[in-house]
């Protein structure tokens, strides 16, 4: 299986981080970065990671089933994750989630027909003091208002990138 040079370089770094006889440690980091490039965890990817880390395919497959970020089905180009856990719940996270479902016509872990957007109701993403919080792929959005969520979803549906959408700014560096 071939990957981009960037991912290959990352894999090389991962394998060098752990003791020589502990390459299994690289399984989860490899999967979590590789799936961004391969769009999902395929059987081919499982075989490749198993080979590179010197473990069985089953040892790779069993972690795929355990970790919520690892997915065998492709997500939308922009994976919109809305937190409804306690701190977000108290300030409107659940309402944002309902709004997103209504607006897009899709539900939890579903993709839009054109593959641009997928939705996920997520557990606490560590932005409790700046709730309600949303993550689009790996970018954080804090203090999200219903108006901002509308703009974000409209913009993404119209083919824009998140950074091209006005009035909605990611927070992380």
């Amino acid at each position: 299986m071939t990957f981009s040079p960037e991912l290959e370089a990352r894999f090389e770094k991962f394998l060098a981080k752990y003791p020589a006889d502990r390459k299994r440690s690289a399984v989860i980091p490899m999967l979590v970065y590789a799936q961004d490039e391969t769009e999902a965890i395929t059987q081919e990817l499982i075989e490749e990671v198993a080979k590179r880390c010197g473990v069985t395919q089953l040892q790779v497959d069993e972690v795929v089933g355990f970790y919520s970020m690892l997915h065998k089905k492709p997500q939308g180009k922009f994976h919109v994750q809305i937190c409804t856990n306690i701190s977000c719940l108290l300030v409107g996270g659940a309402e944002l989630w309902e709004q997103a479902c209504k607006k897009t016509g899709i539900g939890h872990k579903q993709n839009s027909a054109d593959g641009r957007i997928s939705l996920e109701e997520v557990e606490c993403i560590g932005a409790c003091s700046w709730a309600p919080a949303v993550q689009v792929n790996y970018d954080f959005y804090h203090f999200v208002t219903p108006g901002q969520l509308d703009k974000l979803l409209d913009g993404l549906a119209a083919g824009k990138k998140p950074e091209e959408i006005t009035d909605v700014k990611k927070v992380s560096c």
Partner: protein, 442 residues
């Protein structure tokens, strides 16, 4: 910059560089006493370093509050096996968002804390386990690690003193359970995040079955200042048996939610009213979760207390991970209990039956209640099921699900009764909860 304005009531120790420009860079760090604690520690014996940490009364900031110096003292330093330092940056306890800031705005402080821990037990390798959702933090941390290598603070011959220490980040992939220390170690080894039976504890058999120091981000971040200024100085910032400051994550129905560094023992009502600007919309306080979702809830009249481990424990709750979640009078406690249980049912790793089945059945019962189909006997059953989970699981996740549930049912029984006999939730039509946080929203 930080994501909320600071409060004048703060005592910035761990967060003192947050407001500096380029606070992540090693140049900023070195210009503000950076790595001086480590340099001082290179001239100390292992017993002196551990002694200083013991004197500081630093207690684990992940939630359990175990004395850090004592934990470090458990590592068998004469063991021929390699020793490891592992940082728990799998921050995922609902209500908690402090470790994210500590890494984002001062990654070198964490590296320095880890380096000192390495000296204390003779470790030469460290790993920082960062939750997968914090992808950008892995970038921040990797960059800081590269800078530390370039300036000679990491490597085979640190500062030319013959000290060897290597450090690397490790990405998680979405599992609350991996914040539990033994599950984290399983995950670090590339396996499912199921907890291990203890003993042996990580100090004796941790990463790769070798002696390991495993602490929360905030715990390591306190160490450089402790070594530099002395354990007594740090201890003096807090209350007896509860040294130092704490990163409190204030969230929920307050006017100024945010992460604030306050002295240990800071009064909870002052935190809500003076730091947090009081309850939004002039509403009344109903309850507070004092330290993340797993901590038993405190009713409004129980909240006039000092926020340190022992005082909160005396009030039959926990200081936990510092996540202070404030609930106003319009909050439906049945819905709140249900949301907590949905979380634990989702995150139970399934390894042991009391937790896997208990959380699932509690979720079903609470859902039925919230939908108005609850039966009077369910109130008793929710309590019984929860109590039967306590202390009967491999790891504390079962307790974490049971403890808040027991407290909510005991303290707000009348709200459960108000949902009986098909009655609609009395809080259903309170109106939109959406009020923009503190005016910082874009």
């Amino acid at each position: 910059m930080r994501y909320n304005p600071p409060s004048p009531l703060e005592t910035p120790v761990l967060s003192r560089r947050f407001r500096l420009p380029n606070s992540q860079s090693i140049d900023t760090y070195l210009a503000t006493d950076g790595y001086k604690g480590f340099e001082k520690a290179t001239g100390m014996t292992q017993d002196e370093i551990i002694g200083e940490v013991k004197t500081s009364i630093l207690r684990g900031r992940g939630g359990a509050g175990f004395p850090t110096g004592m934990k470090w003292g458990f590592v068998p330093r004469t063991s021929p096996k390699p020793k490891y330092i592992v940082v728990n940056a799998d921050e995922s306890e609902p209500g908690t968002c402090k470790d994210r800031l500590l890494i984002e705005f001062d990654p070198h402080q964490l590296i320095e804390g880890v380096l000192i821990a390495g000296l204390a037990v003779g470790a030469q390798q460290g790993y920082i386990y960062i939750r997968g959702e914090f992808r950008y933090l892995i970038g921040v941390m990797d960059k800081a690690i590269d800078e530390a290598y370039a300036k000679g603070y990491l490597g085979d011959n640190i500062l030319g003193k013959g000290i060897k220490f290597h450090l690397a980040t490790h990405s998680g992939a979405g599992a609350y359970e991996c914040g539990e220390e033994s599950a984290l170690l399983e995950s670090l080894e590339g396996k499912r995040g199921n907890p291990r039976i203890r003993p042996p504890f990580p100090a004796v058999a941790g990463a790769y079955q070798c002696p390991t120091i495993l602490n929360n981000v905030e715990t390591f971040c306190a160490v450089p200042a402790i070594i530099l200024n002395g354990g007594l100085w740090y201890a003096g910032l807090g209350t007896p048996k509860n040294g130092g400051t704490r990163m409190f994550c204030l969230s929920g129905h307050v006017n100024k939610p945010g992460v604030y560094e306050l002295p240990m023992g800071f009064n909870l009502m002052r935190m809500i009213n003076e730091v947090g600007g009081g309850i939004r919309g002039g509403k009344k306080l109903k309850a507070v979760v004092p330290g993340g979702s797993s901590c038993p809830i405190l009713k409004a009249d129980e909240c006039d207390l000092a926020m340190d481990y022992d005082t909160v424990a005396a009030a039959k709750s926990m200081l936990g991970s510092g996540g202070v979640v404030v609930l106003d009078e319009d909050t439906c406690m049945v819905n709140f209990a249900l949301r907590i249980m949905r979380f634990y049912a989702h995150e139970s790793c399934g390894w042991c039956i009391p937790c896997r089945e208990g959380t699932t059945w509690l979720k079903k019962l609470l859902t039925r209640f919230h939908e108005g189909q609850g039966q009077r006997s369910d109130i008793v059953m929710i309590g019984d099921l929860s109590r039967n989970m306590l202390g009967r699981t491999f790891c504390p996740l079962g307790d974490a699900a049971a403890m808040p549930t027991i407290a909510i049912v005991e303290k707000f029984r009348e709200e459960f009764e108000a949902h009986l006999d098909g009655k609609p939730c009395p809080y259903e039509n309170i109106g939109s909860r959406l009020v923009t946080g503190n005016g910082l929203a874009a």
